[in-house]
Symmetry: C2
Subunit: 451 residues, 2 copies
Amino acid sequence: MILQRSSMTLEEVFNAIERAKEPSIARLKELVRIPSVSAENKGVECADALITLLKKEIGFTTRKISTSGSPVVYAEKNVGAPTTLLFYNHYDVQPVDPLSDWQSPPFEATLRDGKLYGRGVSDNKGNIVARIFAIKAYQSIFGALPLNLKFVIEGQEEIGSPYLHEFVEKYPELAQADFCIWEDGHRDADGNQQIWLGVKGILYLNLAITTAKRDIHSSWGGVVENPAWDLVWLLNSLKTPDQKILIDGYYDTVQEPTAAELENLEAIPFNTKAYYEDFGIQQFLQTGRDLKTAYYYAPSLTIDGLTCGYQGPGDKTIIPAEAKAKIDFRLVPNQEPDDLLEKFKSHLQKHHFDNVKIISHHGYPPARVPLSSQYLRVIGETGEQIYGHPLVVHPTSAGSGPMYLFKMDCFSFGCGNAFEQVHAPNENILLEDLVLNMKHLAAIVHAFTPD
Amino acid sequence: MILQRSSMTLEEVFNAIERAKEPSIARLKELVRIPSVSAENKGVECADALITLLKKEIGFTTRKISTSGSPVVYAEKNVGAPTTLLFYNHYDVQPVDPLSDWQSPPFEATLRDGKLYGRGVSDNKGNIVARIFAIKAYQSIFGALPLNLKFVIEGQEEIGSPYLHEFVEKYPELAQADFCIWEDGHRDADGNQQIWLGVKGILYLNLAITTAKRDIHSSWGGVVENPAWDLVWLLNSLKTPDQKILIDGYYDTVQEPTAAELENLEAIPFNTKAYYEDFGIQQFLQTGRDLKTAYYYAPSLTIDGLTCGYQGPGDKTIIPAEAKAKIDFRLVPNQEPDDLLEKFKSHLQKHHFDNVKIISHHGYPPARVPLSSQYLRVIGETGEQIYGHPLVVHPTSAGSGPMYLFKMDCFSFGCGNAFEQVHAPNENILLEDLVLNMKHLAAIVHAFTPD
């Protein structure tokens, strides 16, 4: 067993982690206070706060690397070990609206009943703090690290990491490592710690249709083109009510799950009732293995937002001048966002949606680690000791991230919980999870101690 | 010719109208100053100002009749003539937003280059003032009126006349007359005075679909029901891109235009280029006679507004918890809003849109006067003498109004112009049109002088 090699000393690290609870929460609160909402171009100074933290708390060498967008925070400690681990994180957060649904101010992290509430406490500032303080505790007991460590912390993950590729292309050596712990993760509804072996890709599109220079009285409804109708017909042409995406060639490159992979799905718990309660839904669109297959292995198409015409109280009789939609495609291996964008444009042409404008788009390809990875074994064994049960291994996250940029095995797990409300009001983290995650990280680091 | 019977004396009425220009504008400014925005429940005291005006200026008997909403102003002068004419008007106005687009304050009517600008100068306070001062001028020359006159001036037309039916039901004798001059009208883009012989009906629906208690991360997009998609599929099920409405039985009761009516369409000018410029559009959905047929004789279905999910800048990856739509059906004889509402509900059932909620609805039936109406002949002949050209006769307005409550021939015409911006910033009226409209009204009254 890995832990038994020097378990007493690792126990001391765990004690140091327990003692680090208060200062780590204090640092997390400071980070949350910086409203680094990338969608609103705010709080980029969070990069400087992180550089201070990485220097002061764990003595890493740091660099603030500029891109065409927000800067990337890079930090490293090279101890000349044979193995290098890279932490990928991001310091930006999602917008906070609807603000009125927050029970405490989103940028003032607030403790209630063992939980810390605030925007970014889980996604992703909480994980950054957990990683830094796990390393700090390890160094405080052992002095030196048994493997080389790197941090790459970007500032625009929540808007699709549009410039992270510049960092990777310009500094390929900084982006190199043997394996990577990805931004975050959370325990499931039954409390089981989980790990994800990949991400889906994404293509996010902002669409707009403008048909007039002003809203027009709806008595003209039968003879004047209405962009809301054009939008409805476009969207309807993209997906059927049984979730089939109708873009020509959309499924051509999809890597279907193997029989073994489908078999493996059986082992993954899926607490539907807990999700029902969390989301406030009655059912999923599928059941049983179909549900899991769709969740992990199928691409999807979501309408994220619609806006058009009069949206206030009461009635107003107008033909809107403009209609807008936000949609996202989730991609599985081997779909490519650039290829899909071309297919989407062809779809517009084929169906004569000539007035649809793609206002903006972003995307990245999917990524997936094989179940046989040697690093998965280390993470799994240490995790089982910390959490007292085998980790739940998901073949991929249904979410997306720029994992494809890092050419190594990437593992997503972190300090979140099943009801953490990321991207929504009242985002939260359990202090207990923060501590367990720090212990797990310390144990992984320790596992690379030479015999 | 009607006018020749006593043309010299009618000429004196016209002179009196010219002299009445300044006092009528002064009274109109006073009415505009009262911000009687029914959507905001403001300025109901406008009813009292009108009662004073109707008493003081033309000596009518007045009543302020309460309803569950704003009061109805009723006024009459019964001279024991065989014919009774009823004026239908409203003292409420549309909201003024966006306020910043007004070149002068909306509630301070301002003269610029022969036009008076302000909220309600045309719709509908200008028409009220024109009618009162035409009668005043007539009485100042002839002493007595040759026909009985009534005013019914309601206070909630702009929000769909929700309580006018109470007045009609409680006081049917007050709502009785031989014919009616409806609230307003305007000259076309070429300066031709127009008249409308009816209104389309309307059914306005506020729809909502709620599928979850909160927005959910869009990584769940393939397995969680999305109300935006449900809304898209519902709306798509209602109308095809060639404007065919797909609700079972929707067209069953539609009174198709006769060959004669279609023929009559040829005489109606339709300055498409002026509309293109006004609306900022490139074309209508139809051309030529098809365009006119659709505009006057076809029912329509308009999306007035859509709201759902994230609508701010940038990207946010969520499955929205709720999606909403505002839609309106315009109805032609003999469609009924209550019947259509039932058919709409059946459509929801038939296509299993079980989660669609009708949050609110309002509607009223269409109304139409036959081209053979004897009163049309009087209005047309006098109009031709005043304006120097035959009136453009529209078989119906494409807009809607509570005309169905008045069981008589109703004619819409008034003092507006083609660029009057009703319901929009910088609503305006040409003083020249105000005077011509008053002369036309005086000539109509005079035409009922017994031989």
